[in-house]
Amino acid sequence: MTFHIAVITAGITQPSSTRLLADRLTEATVRALGAHDVGDVVVEVVDVRDVAHDLTNNVLTGFASPDLQVRLDAIAEADAVVVATPVYAASYSGLFKMLVDVLPKDALRDTPVLLGATGGTARHSLAIDHALRPLFAHLGALVAPVAVFAASEDWGSVDAGRLGERIDRAGTAFAALISGSTRAARVDPFEDVTPFEAMLTDLRG
C-alpha cells in the first residue's frame, strides 16, 4: 500500500520561507504517520512557480500543458494535500489561486488538506481562517482544524521554537485525521507531567 501526499507551495523567492513551511509541515506529517499503519508514504511537491506560465496559458486556453497536467493529476489523485501560500494583500497569492482555479472539478472533494501560510507579520495570521478555509470549504475538502501561519519573526526569534511546536502539533493532528483516527491521543497534564528540568531547558532554548 502506498499513501500519496501532494504538497502545493506557492512561494516565489529562492529559497522560499513558504516552501520551508510546506516542507516542515510535510515532514511533521510523515513522521507522525509512522505511528499509523498507512504503508509507504510518497510525497509529490507542486511548486507553482515552476508552472506559472502554464497556469496563465491554462486560464486563457482552457487546457493544461503536459507539465501542468502531471501536477494537477498528482493533486487530484493524492490521499492528502499539504498547502502553503504566502499572504498577499490579506489573502492567498494570485498564482496559488490560479492553480486552484484550474484544478478539475471535485479534485479535492473529501481530500484531507493541511493549511499553511506565511507573511511578513503575525497580523496576517487570520488570513488562513478568513481566506483559505472558505476556499477549501467550497472545494469540499476535509480541512484540518489545526493550521500553521509562519510570520517572518517566527523563523528567527524565541518564537522559532514555538513555530516548530506548532508545526509538529499540526502534523500530528493531520496524520491522525488522514489515517482515520478520530483524534490524536490526548496528553493528560496530570498523568504525563513535564519534568521541571525539561521546562528549564525549554526556557534556555
Partner: protein, 387 residues
C-alpha cells in the same frame, strides 16, 4: 473521405495592418471562400451560427442557400447549429427548405454554444445547455420523420397535430452530426441516434478528442448501428501553410499572437505541439493530419479552420489553393489506402436515398388522405347543406 473547411465568421482586426473589415465585407468574403472551396476541389463548406458581435453568421440558412445557388457540387453544412437556443421547429423548417433548394447538397452539425448571455436573449439558460440539446433534438428528429407530431416538453410550447413543412426532400431527413469538445452526453446522444459525431479538435489537446471519439464509437456499437470502427466521425483542424515552413511561421505569428481565442497566452510553438494547429509546409500538414487517424480511427470528414484571427481574404484564398493543390489530393490517396473496406463513407443525400431504396415525395397536402376532404371543402359543404 470528405475534406472541407469550417468558419466561425468572426470580424477580427488584421493585427498586421490594424484594419477591421466591415460586416458587409466579411459576409461577402464568406461567400467568396465557399465558392473557392468548391473550385479547388473541397467537399464541404460549413458556417457557424452566432448571435453576438464580432460574428456575422446569425442567419446561416440564408447564407448557405445563397452559396448553394452559386455552386454545383460542394456540400453545405454548419459548425454549429445552435440546438439549444434555436427553436427546433425553425431548424426543421429552415434546413428542410435549404435541403430542397440545394437538392440535398447539405447536412448540419448540432452544437450548444458557449456564450452565457446569448441564452437569455432567446429565453433560455446556459445551465440547461445539455437538457436543451437533448430535448430539442429529440423533437427535431421527429419533425423530419413524422408527418404529424403531437409533442410536449419542458422548453417550448406544446405541439398538437403539427406538420413541419416542407417535408424533407425525397422523404430523406438531412444527415446530422453532433459537435462537442468535452461533454460525454453529446457523444452518447450521437451514438444513440446513429448520427455522426464531430470533434472540434482544434484549440484542445488530442487527449480530449480521443476520449470523446472512443466513447462515441463504443456506444454507437452498443446501440446496434454497426461496429465501433464504422461510426461516422468528423474532426476539425487548423492550418497555415507556405512552401517553406519558416515563412509560414513568420507570416502567421502576429495572427496567432493576437487571435481572439488563444492570443497573448501560449507561444505558437507550445500551441502547435499541444493542439492540432499546424503552421508549416504542406508536407507538415499532410503528416500531422494523417496522425489524427492514430487516435481517432478511420474517420469520414476533415474540416479545417482557415479564415479567422483577421487573416485577409487574399491570404485565405491562397491557403485554399495550397489545400486543393498540394494537401487534399495526397490525403485522399493516403487515407483511402489505409482505410479497411468495411469502414463506410459519411452519408450524403444520394447515399441515404440509395439505402432507402429510392425516394418518394413526402408532401403533406392539406387534404385528408382517406376521405379526400379538406377542412375548407368541409366548410363549403356545410354551407351548401344549410342553403
Amino acid at each position: 473521405m470528405q475534406f472541407g473547411i469550417f468558419t466561425v465568421g468572426d470580424v477580427t482586426t488584421d493585427p498586421t495592418t490594424g484594419r477591421t473589415p466591415t460586416e458587409h465585407e466579411r459576409i461577402e468574403a464568406t461567400v467568396a471562400i465557399a465558392k473557392k472551396a468548391e473550385e479547388v476541389g473541397l467537399d464541404v463548406f460549413a458556417t457557424g451560427q452566432h448571435h453576438n458581435p464580432p460574428f456575422i453568421p446569425s442567419a446561416p440558412t440564408t447564407t448557405l442557400a445563397y452559396i448553394a445557388a452559386h455552386t454545383e457540387r460542394i456540400i453545405l453544412s454548419t459548425s454549429t447549429t445552435l440546438i439549444t437556443t434555436t427553436d427546433p421547429v425553425r431548424i426543421a423548417e429552415d434546413y428542410a427548405t435549404l435541403q430542397h433548394l440545394s437538392n440535398g447538397r447539405m447536412d448540419l452539425m448540432m452544437g450548444r454554444g458557449n456564450t452565457g448571455p446569448v441564452y437569455p436573449w432567446f429565453g433560455k439558460d446556459i445551465r440547461d445547455g445539455i437538457p436543451l440539446a437533448i430535448e430539442n433534438y429529440a423533437l427535431l428528429h421527429r419533425l423530419w420523420r413524422e408527418d404529424v407530431v403531437d409533442w410536449q416538453g419542458k422548453y417550448r410550447t406544446p405541439l398538437q397535430g403539427f406538420t413541419s413543412t416542407p417535408r424533407p426532400l425525397d422523404g430523406i431527413p438531412p444527415f446530422v452530426w453532433h459537435g462537442s469538445i468535452r461533454s460525454p452526453e453529446i457523444a452518447e446522444q450521437a451514438a444513440y441516434y446513429g448520427d455522426g459525431f464531430f470533434s472540434n479538435h482544434i484549440f484542445w489537446p488530442a487527449s480530449h478528442t480521443k476520449q470523446m471519439v472512443q466513447l462515441y464509437r463504443r456506444r454507437f456499437e452498443h446501440y446496434g448501428h454497426g461496429r465501433a470502427d464504422q461510426a461516422i466521425v468528423g474532426l476539425g483542424g487548423q492550418v497555415f501553410m507556405r512552401k517553406n515552413s519558416q515563412d509560414a511561421v513568420r507570416e502567421f505569428r502576429p495572427y496567432f499572437d493576437n487571435a481572439p481565442v488563444y492570443g497573448h497566452g501560449p507561444s505558437l510553438e507550445e500551441f502547435t505541439s499541444q493542439t492540432p494547429l499546424t503552421v508549416g509546409s504542406p508536407q507538415e500538414v499532410i503528416e500531422k493530419t494523417l496522425g489524427f487517424r492514430e487516435y481517432a480511427g478511420d474517420y469520414q470528414r476533415q474540416l479545417w479552420l482557415l479564415d479567422h484571427a483577421g487573416l485577409p481574404l487574399k491570404t485565405v484564398l491562397e491557403q485554399l489553393d495550397i489545400l486543393g493543390e498540394e494537401v487534399v489530393p495526397v490525403l485522399r490517396k493516403e487515407f483511402a489506402a489505409l482505410r479497411p473496406a468495411h469502414v463506410p463513407d459519411a452519408p450524403t443525400h444520394p447515399s441515404l436515398l440509395a439505402a432507402a431504396g429510392g425516394g418518394h415525395d413526402s408532401t403533406v397536402h392539406a387534404v385528408d388522405d382517406v376521405t379526400g376532404a379538406s377542412p375548407e371543402s368541409d366548410h363549403t359543404a356545410t354551407l351548401e347543406v344549410t342553403k
